[in-house]
């Protein structure tokens, strides 16, 4: 065998029709999975050579697609070069293959999802809608502007409060456990909508000490993960949370 692969004839992973691949990641995954290679320990020299061999055959590919494959080839060659430098044992995270592995796994996952969608589509097509329908405009709520005003909603709130009025109403929020991951989600959500959020705004809807404490813990956790930055101009001044990438002086 010219390519030096120890696979039986007839299953040569290089005997592929490039047109059946939906991009360089698809092709790489094919080479890895067909040869039962451990994706976390890719023999990068061998895979690079195989990849180059395959795209060497791709004269008939149109230019745009060729570019995508060549870009991946360049990445592989660069990783291969980096692998030649000795690494210190304690630097696991510096494996030059790490990013490629992440991309491959991510792509493989979505390829699986796409297959599941394909099955769902096939199943759905077994249900047939009415063949003949007269043309009718499709109604949609989005076409009607919402006219409900706040006082209507407020009335509903008050009516609800009255209806729920128990003999011994409790004037404290109680019973509901406050979880730090809920708070983290809340902070992330608010920061996805606004560039900065005042800490007080996080706590205000609930206004209890437990919520305040858990919100603060959530912020500290996110600050540690470098997702946000906390800023307070002076002690007792309002505390602001900034989305990390929005920080003007961030590197």
């Amino acid at each position: 065998m010219t390519n030096g692969l120890d696979v039986p004839p007839g299953t040569d992973p290089l005997l592929v029709d490039l047109d059946q691949f939906h991009g360089p990641l698809d092709l790489l995954l094919h080479l890895i999975r067909k040869q039962d290679i451990d994706i976390f320990d890719i023999p990068i020299a061998r895979i690079t050579q195989q990849f180059l061999d395959v795209i060497g055959e791709m004269g008939r590919l149109e230019l745009e697609r060729a570019g995508e494959f060549i870009e991946m080839a360049a990445t592989l060659v660069r990783i291969k070069a980096q692998m030649l430098f000795p690494r210190r044992d304690d630097e696991e995270s510096d494996d030059p293959r790490a990013d490629l592995v992440r991309r491959l796994l991510e792509y493989e996952h979505f390829r699986e999802v796409a297959r599941a969608l394909e099955r769902a589509e096939r199943d759905r097509l077994r249900f047939h809608p009415k063949g003949f329908v007269e043309a009718r405009p499709r109604p949609s709520l989005a076409d009607a502007p919402l006219e409900t005003e706040w006082d209507e909603l407020w009335e509903a709130v008050l009516a609800l409060a009255e209806r729920l009025d128990e003999p011994e109403p409790s004037y404290q929020v109680q019973g509901r456990l406050v979880r730090i991951d809920e708070k983290i989600e809340q902070v992330l959500r608010m920061l996805s909508e606004q560039q900065r959020v005042e800490f007080a705004a996080l706590v205000a809807p609930w206004g209890t000490r437990m919520h305040a404490v858990m919100s603060l813990l959530a912020c500290l956790e996110l600050a540690k993960r470098s997702t946000l930055r906390l800023r307070q101009a002076s002690p007792f001044a309002p505390l602001w949370l900034y989305r990390r990438e929005e920080e003007p002086d961030a590197a």
């Binding site: 919402l146 209507e152 709130v157 409060a161 009255e162 729920l164 809920e182 809340q186």
Partner: protein, 182 residues
């Protein structure tokens, strides 16, 4: 599969009327006369059950269509402006979500004492509420909160500005009923 149901499926899913000859092709054991009898039977079933649709003979073939008396309703429906006001059910559900977010459907239903599926869909479609996370427990229920559009529409800058008063204590304090409490 019963012949009559094969014919029903074909009449329903076809975009054009089907002649007795077309329909008879569905099974070797069928001839046109049998098809005509089966179609008549189908029509009788629709008429007996007072379905809103029935079988019509059009251009030498059969087709299932809504009865003519529904035409004005269907036409009016297309021109009726969509309701631009929230129903009472929607208002109450929105109130609970606004003040208790993040909150799951089960909790909303417990408070109102009725199902909230349809109302939640309307509020989601209206972009007044959104899924903000998943709760703990069986099936990790979706948790709902109000949207930025909710604040915009009702003129608040943040949830903080929602009015609060002693009367609301109950809404705010209502404990989530324990699943095992009887």
């Amino acid at each position: 599969m019963r012949h009559s149901r094969l014919i029903e499926a074909l009449l329903f899913a076809s975009e054009a009327p089907l002649s007795p000859a077309d329909l008879a092709r569905v099974d070797d054991g069928l001839d046109e006369e049998q098809v005509e009898a089966l179609v008549a039977e189908l029509k009788q079933e629709y008429d007996d059950a007072e379905r809103a649709f029935t079988v019509f003979e059009i251009a030498g073939g059969y087709q299932i269509l809504t009865r003519p008396e529904y035409a004005p309703v269907l036409e009016r429906y297309d021109t009726v402006p969509l309701s631009s006001r929230l129903s009472t059910a929607a208002l109450e559900t929105l109130a609970i979500i606004a003040y208790r977010q993040p909150v799951g459907r089960a909790e909303v239903e417990d408070i109102r004492g009725v199902g909230a599926g349809g109302v939640l869909k309307t509020l989601l479609e209206r972009d007044l509420v959104e899924v903000v996370g998943r709760g703990e427990g069986l099936g990790r229920p979706l948790l709902y909160g109000t949207t930025r559009y909710f604040l915009e529409h009702f003129g608040f800058r943040s949830l903080e500005e929602l009015p609060r008063s002693d009367e609301l204590a109950v809404i705010l304090a209502q404990k989530q009923p324990e699943p095992d409490a009887t």
